[in-house]
Amino acid sequence: MLREEYNPEQPLIMHIDLNSCFATVEQQARPQLRDRPVAVVNRRTESTAIVTASYEAKAHGIGVGMKVKEALKLCPGLAILESDPPKYRYVYHKMLGIMKDYSAHITMKSIDEGIIDFTQTSEAIRSRGLADIGMEIKHRLKSEIGCAMRCNVGIAPNRFLAKTAAGLHKPDGLDEITHENLRATLATLKLTDLTGIASRNEKRLNSVGIYTPIQFLDADTVTLKKIVFKSVVGEWWHQRLRGYEVDDVARTMKTVGRQYVLESHSLPRPVILQRLHHLCESVGGRMRSQGKVARGVFVYAKSYDYGYWHARHMNEVPFFSNQAIYAQAALLFAGAPSGKLKEIGVTCYELEDGLGDQLSLFGDQLAREQQVTSAIDEINQRFGERAIHAAHTLAKGAFLQPKIPFGSTRYL
C-alpha cells in the first residue's frame, strides 16, 4: 500500500560510514601522514586510478577514480600508498564488533559502511536515544581503533534516509532525519546527492521537470512509475523518500568475478593468458569459499584499438575448479581482438549451491576433481594463499595481489 504522508515512526535505523576509509586507516597507522593529502591505490604506478583519497587530498580536488598522474599535478605533495587489505579488514571487524554490541540486526553494505537496525532491540537500548548511541560509537572507534578514526552517523526511519543523513556533515557528522525535518533537509541537497541518483536518473527526472529533491518528493507515483522509471522502481522511490523501508532486501550472490588492468599495454598474448589464468584461480577460490559452483563463464577485454570485447559460455554441467574455469576462459579469450589490451576480466555466473544431486555421465571424474580441488583449497588455507597453484601462474603473484572488493563484504 502506498502511503502519501511522511513516516512518523521514531527513527530506528542508524547508518555508519567511515568515509575515505582506507586513507583514514592509513593516517591512523602512520601518524606522520595525519592532516596531509593521502591517496590509496591498488598498484603504485602513475597510470593507476585512486581508490581512496583523504579529506585533505579531496580539498585539492582529488577524487576516487582519478589517475595518479593527474592527481600529482593537482597536489605534488600527495602521498601515494598501496592498499593494505589486512589492515582494512581488521578495522572492518573492529567496527562490526562495536556495532554488534548494540543490535543483533546488522547489515554491512561494504567494508566501510554498515547499518544498525534498532527496531527489534531492547527498550533499554532504544530509550537511550540513537543520537546518544551514535556519539558513543564515534567515541569507541577512536578509543578502540585509534584517535584518527572518524565516522559519519545518520539516523532515520529507513535505510535510504539514514544514509542521506550520514552524508550531511562529513567527515565527522551525526545527523538525524525525521518526518519533521525531512523537507528542510532535502531542500539543502541536489538530486545527485541522493544515493541512487546519478547522471542517468537525473536526466530522467529532469525530463519531467524534476530538478530538486523537494520536487522529487512532491512528485506523484504515477509520474514516477509510468514516466520516469517506467517500473515499480518509481513506487519504491516514492516510499523511500517518505521514510518507508523498501531497501531491507537480502541480496543473493549471482556472480563472482575479478578484473585486472594490465601493467603494460605491450604485453605479449602468452603473458596476458598467464594473468587471465591467475584471475581464474582467484575467482575459483572466491567462488568455492562461498560453497558455490558455476555454469557460466564470462570473459571481457578492453582494447586500445577496438574498445570493449566480451564473450560468454554456458555449460550443461556445473564446474568449480580453477582448471575448469581457465580452460573455458582461455577458449573464449582466443576470440579476443588482437592488438594492445589494457584490461581483462573473468566472471563466473549461474551460480548454484554445492555440486547438486543431478547425476552426470562424468560423475566419477567430477568427484575426483572435487576431491583434488578441496585438498588444494585446504592446503592453501593452512599454508597461505597460493601455496599450491598452477605452474602456469608461477611467480605472477606480484601482479595480482589480493585486493578488497568494493560493495561486498562476503570475502572479508
Partner: protein, 89 residues
Amino acid sequence: MNDEIFLNERVVVEVLFEEGLNICRPLRFRRPNGREVEVTELGLRHPSNNGLKTMHIFDVTDGGTDYRLEFDSERLTWYLTREADHYAA
C-alpha cells in the same frame, strides 16, 4: 609520491604487555646498525594471516618517522619491514 623504504631487518624490541585496549605495545627497538628508536605512538596494531600463521603488524612512529614492525607469533621474532621518514612535502 611516497618515499617508503621496504626492509627486512631483524630487530631487538622492548615491549610492554599490559591491560587495556593495546595489550602489547612496543616501547623501543634496536636496529642491526645499533641505532635505537624510541616509539612515541602506536598507530595501529593488526594481524595479518598467511594460512594458519599469524603475523602481528605494529605501525609505530618515533615522532618523525613511521615504522612497521612485524612480530612472527610462530617463531617469536621481530622484524622491521618498513620505514617512511620523508613523505613528499
